[in-house]
Symmetry: C2
Subunit: 151 residues, 2 copies
DNA sequence: CACTTATATTTGCAAATGCAAATGTTGCAT
DNA sequence: ATGCAACATTTGCATTTGCAAATATAAGTG
């Protein structure tokens, strides 16, 4: 028998929403929104990226991201320039201020995650993350079955 | 060393967004949005509820939900009435049409979940869902530490 | 019983989102 | 070279969202 509240998508969404809200409240005091944090953390981790890559990494729609990046450039957190070798792309990077800010926020993120995972052993955490990775891979594989990339 | 893309909130969000998008595309053909489906499935599972309860169950903000319910009442999927014993509350329920529709959609949801969890054993699925429940409980407990409910 | 306080939902309004169309670039084929 | 398809991002516009204020009902208090 089917129950929404025991379904996997429901359980994931519920955790995702709550964990996001809680962290957003933490970030608020620093004048940063959660999407902004994610963008900065992605850039910190992977270095400069094009908009499309960033959209894929952060799970944010490209048009939304385009505007968000614009606002963050305005705040001097990011830089945005067209590379010479490919003038239709946009290379986005952290400014020194953006880097300093995100490095300042990272301990917050670490504490927040630890809080969410209270009571889990390191092995359980590793397994849980691995499972989420497996699910994600399933979803990607499924989307490719539906709309196969051009051969 | 901290990496956004290995953090639990990131991994959960990524799966939540993708799984929601994929299911939304499925629902689109039936003229239903994902929040609508969640509301109907919650009502199907738990019977009639007040708006606040529904908001808690579905992780949707109450004002958003109020409007959504209004739209769904307009589509004859839900009914909404003030109970006699407490005239400030609103009791929301499925109409026969709403019930028929959600029952029609549930097989879709089941298939969709199975797809996301391909390759997982039943034990792994159970453990994964349990873990998500534990995390949720942690988040709720944490929020209560921050803002303790009136004694 | 008037009057404040608490509960439950709705509404106003500004900001965020997402699709589709527009813009700007590049590369390929004649 | 010129035109045409492909790529990458931005913008227009309608919808959705979320906070805060407004509304409506109920319950306590002197």
């Amino acid at each position: 028998m089917y129950r929404l509240t025991e379904s996997f998508p429901y359980l994931v969404n519920r955790v995702g929403v709550r964990i996001g809200e809680a962290f957003s409240r933490r970030l608020e005091a620093r004048g940063v929104t959660l999407p902004m944090y994610r963008v900065m953390a992605a850039l910190w981790e992977q270095g400069d990226q094009r908009l499309g890559d960033l959209a894929a990494v952060t799970s944010v729609e490209m048009s939304t991201l385009s505007r968000l990046v614009g606002a963050m450039v305005g705040k001097r957190l990011l830089s945005r320039r067209r590379p010479e070798e490919n003038g239709r792309a946009v290379e986005i990077n952290l400014t020194p201020q953006g880097r300093a800010l995100v490095e300042d926020l990272m301990p917050l993120a670490i504490r927040h995650e630890a809080l969410a995972l209270r009571g889990f052993t390191p092995e359980e955490v590793a397994r849980l993350k691995q499972d989420l990775g497996r699910v994600f891979a399933n979803l990607v594989a499924y989307e490719e079955e539906i709309a196969p990339p051009p051969p």
